[in-house]
Amino acid sequence: MSIELAFRLDRGDFSLDLSLALPGAGVSAVFGPSGCGKTTLLRIMAGLERLAVGHLRVGGRTWQDVNQFVPPHQRAVGYVFQEPSLFPHRSVEGNLRYGLRRSQGSGDSARLEQSIELLGIRHLLARRPHQLSGGEQQRVAIARALAMEPALLLLDEPLAGLDQERRGEILPYLERLHRELVLPMVYVSHSREEVARLADHLVLMDAGRVQAEGALTDVFARLDLAIAGQPGAETVLEGVVDDYDPRDGVVRVNSDAGPLHAVLGQMETGQPVRLQVQARDVSVALTAPQDSSILNVMPARIEDLAEQGTGHVMLRLRVGDTVLLARVSRRSARELSLAPGLEVHAQVKSVALLG
């Protein structure tokens, strides 16, 4: 199963022209500045923009091509709009059942139960939408889309209309969907934090075009893109908790980059985690440092480097099966003669848990 699409849309002041192949599982984030066409892309996929010309195939089924246009209500899609968009004339349960009753699957309530459970909204079922907070409304809207058992879930900046606190309240639910469902999701966002926490695959958009796409870690580490040049540049690593030391709270995570140690507090062995390493927290040394306070030192090879402003150099390091960004001073780069191909030791000062 995969999602293939190519579309053109011309609206005078805005044009969109792109072609994509997205993985059939996990979260594909579409990331870019506002007005770049992210939302339009989602609307095209849902069939809400009739003027777009092109084709879309989802898991072998054609939703649109030259010869056919499957109308939105016949596409097995779940759509979560930026604002919650619950029907004000129906209760929470009425909202959940609206799509469920109309979707192809039998009216079996197992999926409804699962959606209610996943989003933690059981206590809200009898309420009216106006009695809910913005975050609760958005959770109901997500559950409403999930209950239909869609082949594809489209989320249009579902957290953008919420304040920081509410965002923090919903993100764990989204991470849970990501962990527990195989459903492919396309997640539009302009928040780097949300993308880092949720995405597996990343599509960078600008002015209606695709700038780059690929696995999240690879795209984040591409030094030719502006995304690695931003102050918060980071590497996202997936791993599994391997050991926890109750004496000092240090957790060992088996990651793509090898074993990583971090003070994360108590965690269950075997638990999958997503870690974030800031580029500014990674330094390099030519010889293995002795007696260092830094917990993580790993052999690495410089793959690429790019100057950042007048004072810094961003390095892309190959570590284990993955890459790691390191931001060092230009002076260090000069004095150590850092260059692509050089073998170094990467020192990771701090590792943060995402979510």
């Binding site: 209500h73 016949q74 889309a145 239909m148």
Partner: protein, 226 residues
């Protein structure tokens, strides 16, 4: 007390208003929906035509309807060709006249209500597998409910009060096309002020009660503006 002729006139008036309102809701709903959604650049022409009865003197409207519904007119002629009666001076003719006369009072509140619903809820319903007709009845209509209430009551009340159009196309045939407003006029002409008081007072009370009901029920939603 009102005489039996007056009661008949009242009964005819209520029947006329009820039938006209029903027809107006059936015809006005798709028209209002189309007006609220279309991007056609000549939409304003249709809007102007719908609003015309608001500004046209009822006698002018009645005059044209009389011509159209009479045996020589296009509609009356067609009815005759089909083996029916010309519509002028019949209850059916009055219904047609009332429908035209009260059209803006039904279409405009509905159009406003549909515009206020907007596209988003309909898109949401579409992504929840609702077909166009399904989402119209399960989303647009419930969300526009206050507009329907306003449209129905205004259409009804406005038909109750029509005078000029009825006089032109209905004549003043007691028991068949004589309505309250014309009966009042006749009573005043005959200096029978007592009967005129009964009928006028009754109509005044009824209209006031209906409008109060609309405003009270709509207070939570949107206030009627015309």
């Amino acid at each position: 007390m009102p005489g039996s002729a007056d009661l008949t006139a009242l009964w005819i008036t209520l029947q006329l208003a009820a039938v006209s309102t029903l027809i107006l809701l059936v015809l006005g709903t798709p028209l209002a929906w189309w007006l609220a959604r279309t991007q056609w650049r000549f939409r304003f022409v249709v809007e102007a035509m719908v609003a015309l009865p608001l500004v046209l003197p009822p006698t002018v409207l009645g005059f044209y309807l009389l011509i159209a519904l009479g045996p020589e007119g296009p509609i009356g002629g067609l009815m005759e060709a089909l083996g029916g009666q010309p519509l002028a001076f019949t209850f059916s003719g009055l219904v047609i006249g009332s429908v035209v006369y009260s059209l803006p009072f039904v279409v405009q509140p509905l159009q406003n209500a549909f515009s206020a619903v907007g596209r988003r809820p309909m898109e949401v319903a579409a992504t929840l597998r609702a077909s166009p007709l399904d989402r119209f009845f399960t989303v647009a209509v419930p969300l526009a409910a206050p507009g329907f209430l306003t449209a129905a009551v205004l259409g009804f009340a406005h038909t109750l009060g029509e005078f000029g159009v009825v006089l032109m196309i209905g004549g003043n045939i007691p028991g068949s096309t004589q309505v309250v407003s014309i009966a009042v006029y006749d009573h005043v002409e005959a200096l029978d002020y007592t009967s005129a008081h009964w009928l006028s007072g009754g109509l005044l009370l009824m209209s006031m009660l209906m409008l109060m009901a609309v405003y009270a029920l709509n207070r939570r939603f949107l206030v009627v503006r015309l």
